[in-house]
Amino acid sequence: AAGVIQSPRHLIKEKRETATLKCYPIPRHDTVYWYQQGPGQDPQFLISFYEKMQSDKGSIPDRFSAQQFSDYHSELNMSSLELGDSALYFCASSLNWGTSGPTEPQETQYFGPGTRLLVL
Protein backbone atom coordinates (compact mmCIF):
# COMPACT_ATOMS: atom_id res chain seq x y z
CA ALA A 1 0.00 0.00 0.00
CA ALA A 2 1.14 3.54 -0.74
CA GLY A 3 2.54 5.46 2.19
CA VAL A 4 3.28 9.05 3.02
CA ILE A 5 6.27 10.35 1.08
CA GLN A 6 8.57 13.02 2.39
CA SER A 7 11.41 14.75 0.64
CA PRO A 8 14.21 15.28 1.11
CA ARG A 9 15.03 12.60 3.66
CA HIS A 10 18.08 14.47 4.88
CA LEU A 11 18.93 18.15 4.71
CA ILE A 12 21.90 20.14 5.94
CA LYS A 13 21.65 23.92 6.15
CA GLU A 14 23.62 26.79 7.61
CA LYS A 15 22.20 29.18 10.18
CA ARG A 16 19.96 31.88 8.70
CA GLU A 17 19.35 29.85 5.54
CA THR A 18 15.93 28.68 4.37
CA ALA A 19 14.61 25.16 3.88
CA THR A 20 11.57 23.66 2.21
CA LEU A 21 10.26 20.27 3.22
CA LYS A 22 7.73 18.43 1.08
CA CYS A 23 5.07 15.92 1.98
CA TYR A 24 2.97 13.76 -0.32
CA PRO A 25 0.05 12.20 1.57
CA ILE A 26 -1.42 8.77 1.02
CA PRO A 27 -3.62 8.90 -2.12
CA ARG A 28 -7.15 10.16 -1.32
CA HIS A 29 -6.09 11.45 2.09
CA ASP A 30 -7.18 15.06 2.44
CA THR A 31 -5.61 16.10 5.74
CA VAL A 32 -1.93 16.69 6.35
CA TYR A 33 -0.18 17.24 9.68
CA TRP A 34 3.37 18.38 10.44
CA TYR A 35 5.27 17.38 13.58
CA GLN A 36 8.74 18.23 14.85
CA GLN A 37 10.76 15.73 16.89
CA GLY A 38 13.86 17.09 18.59
CA PRO A 39 16.68 14.75 19.65
CA GLY A 40 15.44 12.39 22.34
CA GLN A 41 12.05 14.06 22.46
CA ASP A 42 8.50 13.19 21.55
CA PRO A 43 6.94 14.61 18.38
CA GLN A 44 5.37 18.04 18.77
CA PHE A 45 2.51 19.17 16.57
CA LEU A 46 3.22 22.14 14.31
CA ILE A 47 0.32 22.66 11.94
CA SER A 48 -2.33 20.84 9.92
CA PHE A 49 -4.35 21.36 6.75
CA TYR A 50 -7.69 19.98 5.64
CA GLU A 51 -8.80 20.48 2.06
CA LYS A 52 -6.05 23.06 1.54
CA MET A 53 -7.14 25.19 4.47
CA GLN A 54 -5.25 25.46 7.74
CA SER A 55 -7.23 23.42 10.25
CA ASP A 56 -5.11 23.61 13.40
CA LYS A 57 -1.96 25.35 14.58
CA GLY A 58 0.42 24.29 17.27
CA SER A 59 3.82 25.45 18.42
CA ILE A 60 5.04 26.53 15.01
CA PRO A 61 7.54 29.43 15.01
CA ASP A 62 6.62 32.55 13.05
CA ARG A 63 9.67 31.84 10.88
CA PHE A 64 7.92 28.76 9.57
CA SER A 65 5.01 28.67 7.15
CA ALA A 66 3.19 25.87 5.43
CA GLN A 67 0.53 25.26 2.86
CA GLN A 68 -1.36 22.47 1.17
CA PHE A 69 -1.70 22.51 -2.59
CA SER A 70 -4.50 21.48 -4.96
CA ASP A 71 -2.99 18.00 -5.34
CA TYR A 72 -3.01 17.73 -1.50
CA HIS A 73 0.74 17.70 -1.12
CA SER A 74 2.08 20.05 1.50
CA GLU A 75 5.23 22.09 1.97
CA LEU A 76 6.79 23.38 5.17
CA ASN A 77 8.90 26.48 4.59
CA MET A 78 11.46 27.35 7.22
CA SER A 79 13.36 30.63 7.15
CA SER A 80 16.15 32.16 9.22
CA LEU A 81 17.11 28.72 10.41
CA GLU A 82 18.51 28.38 13.91
CA LEU A 83 20.61 25.64 15.47
CA GLY A 84 17.59 24.64 17.54
CA ASP A 85 15.62 23.84 14.41
CA SER A 86 17.73 20.71 13.95
CA ALA A 87 15.21 17.93 14.30
CA LEU A 88 13.27 15.20 12.57
CA TYR A 89 10.23 16.62 10.79
CA PHE A 90 7.34 14.27 10.24
CA CYS A 91 4.39 14.61 7.98
CA ALA A 92 1.27 12.55 8.59
CA SER A 93 -1.92 12.19 6.61
CA SER A 94 -5.45 11.07 7.29
CA LEU A 95 -8.75 10.74 5.48
CA ASN A 96 -11.70 12.80 6.59
CA TRP A 97 -14.69 10.65 7.41
CA GLY A 98 -17.20 12.80 5.65
CA THR A 99 -15.72 12.94 2.21
CA SER A 100 -15.15 9.40 1.08
CA GLY A 101 -17.67 7.16 2.72
CA PRO A 102 -17.19 4.35 5.25
CA THR A 103 -13.48 4.48 5.87
CA GLU A 104 -11.36 5.02 8.90
CA PRO A 105 -12.12 8.29 10.65
CA GLN A 106 -9.88 11.29 10.53
CA GLU A 107 -8.34 10.40 13.86
CA THR A 108 -6.03 7.77 12.35
CA GLN A 109 -2.88 9.48 11.17
CA TYR A 110 -0.26 7.69 9.12
CA PHE A 111 3.28 9.01 9.29
CA GLY A 112 5.95 9.44 6.68
CA PRO A 113 9.59 8.48 7.25
CA GLY A 114 10.53 12.02 8.19
CA THR A 115 13.04 14.61 7.03
CA ARG A 116 16.12 14.93 9.20
CA LEU A 117 17.21 18.56 9.22
CA LEU A 118 20.62 19.54 10.52
CA VAL A 119 21.40 23.23 10.95
CA LEU A 120 25.08 24.06 11.28
Binding site: Y33, P43, F45, A92, T108, Q109
Partner: protein, 113 residues
Protein backbone atom coordinates in the same frame (compact mmCIF):
# COMPACT_ATOMS: atom_id res chain seq x y z
CA UNK B 1 -6.44 20.06 26.08
CA UNK B 2 -5.02 16.60 26.44
CA UNK B 3 -1.84 15.27 27.96
CA UNK B 4 -0.14 11.90 28.02
CA UNK B 5 2.20 10.43 30.60
CA UNK B 6 4.29 7.39 29.89
CA UNK B 7 5.34 6.15 33.27
CA UNK B 8 8.57 4.44 32.25
CA UNK B 9 11.22 6.08 30.13
CA UNK B 10 13.16 2.84 29.73
CA UNK B 11 12.08 -0.78 30.00
CA UNK B 12 14.76 -3.48 29.71
CA UNK B 13 13.48 -7.02 29.37
CA UNK B 14 14.80 -10.41 28.35
CA UNK B 15 13.74 -12.10 25.15
CA UNK B 16 10.52 -14.16 25.39
CA UNK B 17 9.49 -12.39 28.61
CA UNK B 18 6.19 -10.51 28.84
CA UNK B 19 6.20 -6.73 28.82
CA UNK B 20 3.84 -3.92 29.73
CA UNK B 21 4.41 -0.30 28.74
CA UNK B 22 2.29 2.05 30.78
CA UNK B 23 0.39 5.07 29.50
CA UNK B 24 -1.96 7.42 31.32
CA UNK B 25 -3.80 10.28 29.73
CA UNK B 26 -5.67 13.36 30.83
CA UNK B 27 -8.50 14.95 28.91
CA UNK B 28 -11.69 16.87 29.56
CA UNK B 29 -13.35 15.30 26.53
CA UNK B 30 -13.58 11.86 24.99
CA UNK B 31 -10.41 10.82 23.24
CA UNK B 32 -8.95 8.44 20.76
CA UNK B 33 -5.81 6.60 21.87
CA UNK B 34 -2.90 5.28 19.89
CA UNK B 35 0.40 3.48 20.26
CA UNK B 36 3.13 4.15 17.73
CA UNK B 37 6.53 2.46 17.45
CA UNK B 38 9.68 4.12 16.20
CA UNK B 39 12.66 2.00 15.23
CA UNK B 40 16.08 3.68 15.16
CA UNK B 41 16.35 6.29 12.43
CA UNK B 42 12.88 5.53 11.14
CA UNK B 43 9.43 7.07 11.15
CA UNK B 44 6.45 6.36 13.35
CA UNK B 45 4.50 3.19 12.68
CA UNK B 46 0.99 2.71 14.02
CA UNK B 47 0.82 -0.30 16.34
CA UNK B 48 -2.79 -0.11 17.40
CA UNK B 49 -5.58 2.30 18.21
CA UNK B 50 -8.66 2.64 20.38
CA UNK B 51 -11.49 4.61 18.82
CA UNK B 52 -14.57 3.05 20.40
CA UNK B 53 -16.14 -0.31 21.20
CA UNK B 54 -14.20 -3.15 22.80
CA UNK B 55 -11.70 -1.87 25.33
CA UNK B 56 -9.17 -4.55 24.41
CA UNK B 57 -7.55 -3.78 21.10
CA UNK B 58 -5.10 -5.92 19.20
CA UNK B 59 -2.44 -4.54 16.96
CA UNK B 60 0.42 -5.65 14.81
CA UNK B 61 3.38 -7.75 15.90
CA UNK B 62 1.42 -9.44 18.70
CA UNK B 63 0.84 -6.29 20.74
CA UNK B 64 -2.41 -5.46 22.49
CA UNK B 65 -3.64 -2.66 24.70
CA UNK B 66 -6.54 -2.16 27.06
CA UNK B 67 -8.44 1.07 27.41
CA UNK B 68 -9.49 1.76 31.00
CA UNK B 69 -11.65 4.85 31.20
CA UNK B 70 -11.94 4.93 34.99
CA UNK B 71 -8.18 4.81 35.38
CA UNK B 72 -7.55 6.91 32.25
CA UNK B 73 -4.99 4.38 31.11
CA UNK B 74 -4.06 2.66 27.87
CA UNK B 75 -1.29 0.21 28.69
CA UNK B 76 0.46 -1.74 25.95
CA UNK B 77 1.27 -5.41 26.44
CA UNK B 78 2.96 -8.27 24.69
CA UNK B 79 3.12 -11.78 26.17
CA UNK B 80 6.51 -12.68 24.68
CA UNK B 81 8.93 -10.14 23.22
CA UNK B 82 11.58 -10.60 20.58
CA UNK B 83 14.90 -8.88 20.01
CA UNK B 84 13.30 -7.14 17.04
CA UNK B 85 10.82 -5.38 19.35
CA UNK B 86 13.62 -3.14 20.58
CA UNK B 87 12.42 0.36 19.74
CA UNK B 88 10.90 3.56 21.13
CA UNK B 89 7.19 3.34 21.84
CA UNK B 90 4.95 6.39 21.94
CA UNK B 91 1.47 6.63 23.38
CA UNK B 92 -0.64 9.36 21.81
CA UNK B 93 -4.08 10.89 22.22
CA UNK B 94 -6.34 12.98 20.02
CA UNK B 95 -9.72 14.54 20.59
CA UNK B 96 -12.75 12.94 19.01
CA UNK B 97 -13.27 16.04 16.90
CA UNK B 98 -10.22 14.96 14.97
CA UNK B 99 -7.08 16.99 15.23
CA UNK B 100 -3.52 16.94 16.44
CA UNK B 101 -1.92 14.04 18.21
CA UNK B 102 -0.43 14.72 21.62
CA UNK B 103 2.36 12.30 22.39
CA UNK B 104 3.84 11.00 25.58
CA UNK B 105 7.57 11.24 26.11
CA UNK B 106 8.17 7.74 24.86
CA UNK B 107 9.35 4.47 26.38
CA UNK B 108 12.53 2.86 25.14
CA UNK B 109 11.99 -0.90 25.12
CA UNK B 110 15.22 -2.86 25.00
CA UNK B 111 14.97 -6.60 24.57
CA UNK B 112 18.11 -8.45 25.64
CA UNK B 113 19.06 -12.01 24.66
Amino acid sequence: AQSVTQLDSQVPVFEEAPVELRCNYSSSVSVYLFWYVQYPNQGLQLLLKYLSGSTLVKGINGFEAEFNKSQTSFHLRKPSVHISDTAEYFCAVSGTSGSRLTFGEGTQLTVNP
